[in-house]
């Protein structure tokens, strides 16, 4: 580890963690982040780059990195893996057509060494839309009960970024899980 990363690590404020928010384009990553942060969600356009927000939640500082999900820029996701404590994977529950793409991209992330220790929170978003898949259906489609997820701390929560339901539950799980892994060890 280099000088700067050591200093950052040693000096990092207590109870600070880094969350990476990924998912296919149009899944609602930015909307989730903004809604959770109490911001206006009416003028959100597709993210071509990334957004950063530091949220304070239940005594923790969450550094959230929301990176655009369009196919052409997914190869850049890897530049954001470093030091990630938790991965938030956002699924458009109404997008049955692309659920296979969704599984493939998630599988790919799960095999990344730099994300090996990260807790995984899956938001089954857009539950307000008619025809939205349930968490069971999505869990099945993503193969969450398979080998790949055996050693992973993961959870799936139904939510609606537009209405706000489920977001708190998901973020609570994430902070609890990370804190039980990281902060209780010391």
């Amino acid at each position: 580890m280099g000088l700067l990363s050591i200093i950052r690590k040693v000096k990092a404020k207590e109870k600070e963690c880094r969350l990476l928010i990924l998912g296919l384009d149009n899944a609602g990553k930015t909307t989730i982040l903004k809604k959770f942060n109490g911001e206006d969600i009416n003028t959100i356009s597709p993210t071509l780059g990334f957004n950063i927000k530091t949220l304070s939640h239940r005594g923790y500082l969450l550094n959230c990195w929301d990176v655009g999900g369009q196919q052409t820029i997914r190869s850049y996701w890897r530049n954001y893996f470093e030091a990630t404590d938790g991965l938030i994977w956002v699924v458009d529950s109404a997008d049955r057509v692309r659920i296979e793409d969704c599984k493939r991209e998630l599988d790919n992330l799960m095999s990344q060494e730099k994300l090996a220790g990260a807790s995984l929170m899956i938001f089954a978003n857009k539950q307000d839309l008619a025809g939205a898949m349930s968490t069971d259906e999505i869990g099945e489609a993503l193969g969450l009960n398979g080998e790949k997820f055996k050693t992973r701390h993961w959870s799936i929560v139904a939510c609606s970024a537009v209405e706000g339901g489920g977001l708190l539950e998901g973020m609570d799980w994430m902070t609890d899980d990370i804190s039980s892994r990281i902060f209780m060890l010391s």
Partner: protein, 201 residues
């Protein structure tokens, strides 16, 4: 032992009280303080400031003052931290006979409560993406302010900002005053103070 003493002064009074019981300065402490002293000097070097400024001027054009960041910023940020880290480690290796990053890293990890003060705040600021973004934006804005291009001014302005604490303090100072403060020779400590005085609102 100037450097050692200086290191202690940087810490708060309570630190000294806590350590009062075993007052022997260990070899490790000396080694640590020597490196921190060297770091202090390195961060003030004109060469180091030039390095940062050159990088900022070279790349600031691509930055825009929008909430969303472009993917390329991340690349530039890694290049920036690598450049800075490379330079600092290079200087430390030159200035400290038996410098070892592993050893220093272990000492840092043991001194969680001691690594306070300007040096560490500044090093910490180099690892913060959002500070990097605002630094680049302020460079860009200054650049636009000087669209006529008065040689040498831009660099000096930003050097001051870094020297003051690396958080961009004073960035809003008016371009006209900076232009008046102008040339390279302004960088001597005495005239730097004079310039600061002139710049304060």
């Amino acid at each position: 032992m100037d450097k050692v003493d200086f290191g202690c002064l940087e810490d708060s009074g309570e630190e000294i009280l806590i350590d009062g019981g075993d007052s022997n300065v260990s070899e490790e402490d000396q080694y640590f303080d020597e490196i921190v002293g060297a770091l202090e000097n390195i961060l003030m070097l004109e060469e180091f400031n030039d390095l940062q400024n050159d990088f900022c001027e070279q790349h600031c054009e691509v930055f825009e003052d929008t909430e969303e960041s472009k993917l390329v910023y991340t690349d530039l940020f890694s290049q920036y931290t690598e450049l800075i880290e490379g330079y600092i480690i290079g200087r430390l290796t030159l200035e400290i006979d038996d410098f070892s990053m592993d050893k220093f890293g272990a000492l840092l990890a043991d001194r969680q409560d001691e690594i306070t003060g300007d040096v560490f705040d500044m090093l910490m600021s180099f690892t913060d993406f959002e500070e990097f973004k605002s630094l680049m934006l302020s460079h860009k804005n200054q650049g636009e302010g000087f669209s006529g291009g008065i040689d040498g001014c831009l660099g000096i302005v930003s050097k001051e900002n870094f020297a003051v604490g690396g958080t961009g303090a004073g960035i809003e100072a008016s371009p006209m005053k900076m232009a008046a403060a102008g040339r390279k020779d302004v960088l001597s400590p005495a005239s730097r103070e004079a310039k600061d005085a002139g710049l304060s609102p």
